[in-house]
Subunit: 333 residues, 2 copies
């Protein structure tokens, strides 16, 4: 295990300390717990708050999406572990400006449990919450069990749209409905080439033989739907885009946003080779790419691999994606 | 060798094709050669052009820094190989708006040779050029041979400052002097943990034993100044920052910009653990961090490792760093 850390135990807190030192104008801790971060102007009266969170090890997910036109606060757990309900509740109190708070996070058991508990705590304090969970990983469950799918990189689209809605002053039900609408129209599938080594256990997140790939792998190394010899970039893109287009039932004339995401160790160069083929395939189907994002948006420490996400667009979703946003990891004007 | 590519031979051109498809509003090819890219509005009359370039495999270097307030054009070679003089010349012609062109690139033999030839070709066409080479890698040569140092991630500071100067309308000699001034006040040192595998040869860019690190390694795997067992993040930061502070002769009261750069496979989390210690050490020396950048700015495909760059600041350099900039890989307003 070769990592640039001090100790596995101190890793998460020292990373957070680094983030706060690097971005003091954008992020702050509302209380004493460094694992609760909010945007500098969190709690602005009348603005809907958006709280996200989950395990560490996925930067820029989740902390990277706290900022203007994005989320308002975040609660962070250990590597690949849920934050506590108390941490989520503390973020909720800090971001509430009287207009209520949306919980927007990925569909994992521990996170659901703790966010639900935090919602109960918030209700006792007269803070209204709504919950939308990202569930874009089409490889994790078939379409008839769509509600049980895991949330992966495609949650970026929901952050961007819901964050833009909150920023322009939409009320809680509207912001929640927008997040739900985006989640409903987002589909993602990933491929893994090599695992990350978990800092505390020194164990790999999954195992593959030499020359093998796994299609549909999750961002914690959850099993996918196909394991076989590594294919070419074009073959991989064809497989994934085919599955996503079918899942979203895209037809000629559709417009989409595309996110080609690196899992951690995959060079940006390879992501662009993938994007090239995604563009070719969608063009062939007469599907227009209206927004494109290529880079590391949701990682798994130093895992090698990539994912492709599509969001089916209508005018409303496109306008929300195009709105300005600014966080330590994402800036678009 | 596990890579998401089609063939090693097609890798560079397919990557560039992907970049152009993803960012059609920001980049264009002025002629038929896809390895020459310029910003969409290149050649604006009266604005000094800035051409950079070098081998592929370092994204976001070099293509990522072509845009508003940054470079105007780029010529790209094969992986870790110089572009041709003809390609540099083509970029020069495309970005020249009558005010001349600055060549700003890293100090490597092949690049120097080809940029110098392109300068000769440009002179025949009455295009005035100036040349400033990045040479920030303090591990590559001792201080008394500073002019022979290699250029690494710290060239980002020179792009940012020279780009801001060109954008506000400074003349060629001023833009060149600003780039030279920034290069003169920039120092970088890197650490390598594992190599990249070169696509065409399938060979590693360097070799290390299990558990070893190499301090001072170059971005193509050039040998460093110390090889030994992997140390903690704090020990690594202490070593590197100590060397940089000595090289720049920083004393209490100095202001700096810091860049903690990932080489490709190193998680962003680890870069923040490093940044935390950089901040501690500089604070202890009463050196103020006025700007901080943490992320992948100059990589070596999937190499694991990081580098730390410091730029000693005065008011002029700080103002240029803080100016707005926008490219496919870097946006700050």
């Amino acid at each position: 295990m070769k990592k640039i850390i001090n100790t596995p135990e101190a890793f998460v807190d020292e990373m957070i300390e680094g983030i706060l030192l690097a971005h003091p104008d954008q992020l702050r801790t509302p209380g004493d717990d460094p694992r609760v971060l909010v945007r500098a102007d969190a709690g602005a009266p009348g603005r809907v708050g958006i709280v996200t969170g989950g395990g560490s090890g996925h930067l820029p997910l989740f902390k990277g999406y706290v900022g203007t036109g994005l989320c308002s606060g975040v609660a962070i757990g250990n590597v690949f572990s849920s934050p506590s309900s108390q941490q989520v509740f503390e973020a909720t109190q800090a971001v509430d400006g009287g207009a209520g708070v949306l919980y927007l996070y990925g569909n994992y058991g521990g996170d659901v449990f703790n966010f639900d508990l935090a919602a109960d705590l918030s209700e006792l304090e007269d803070i209204t919450t709504r919950t939308v969970v990202g569930r874009d990983d089409v490889a994790s469950q078939p379409k008839e069990r769509k509600a049980d799918r895991r949330g992966v990189a495609g949650i970026f689209f929901a952050y961007k749209a819901a964050g833009a809605a909150a920023e322009r002053g939409d009320d809680l039900d509207t912001v929640a409905a927008i997040a739900e609408d985006v989640v409903e129209h987002t589909a993602t599938m990933g491929i893994g080439l090599s695992p990350t080594i978990l800092p505390t256990t020194a164990q790999p997140s999954f195992t593959l033989e030499d020359g093998e790939m796994e299609i549909g792998i999750g961002i914690h190394g959850e099993p996918g739907i196909h394991r076989g010899m590594l294919e070419t970039a074009d073959q991989i893109a064809d497989r994934i885009v085919g599955a996503l287009v079918a899942d979203l039932e895209l037809t000629a004339g559709a417009r989409v946003a595309v996110l080609v995401n690196g899992m951690g160790a995959t060079p940006l160069e390879e992501l662009y080779v993938l994007f090239r083929r995604v563009h070719q395939v969608l063009s062939g189907l007469e599907v227009t790419i209206a927004r494109s994002y290529v880079g590391e948006y949701a990682t798994s420490l130093e895992m090698a691999g990539a994912s492709i996400s599509l969001l089916a667009l209508d005018d409303a979703r496109l306008a929300l994606l195009a709105a300005p946003a600014r966080s330590p990891f994402f800036e678009e004007v």
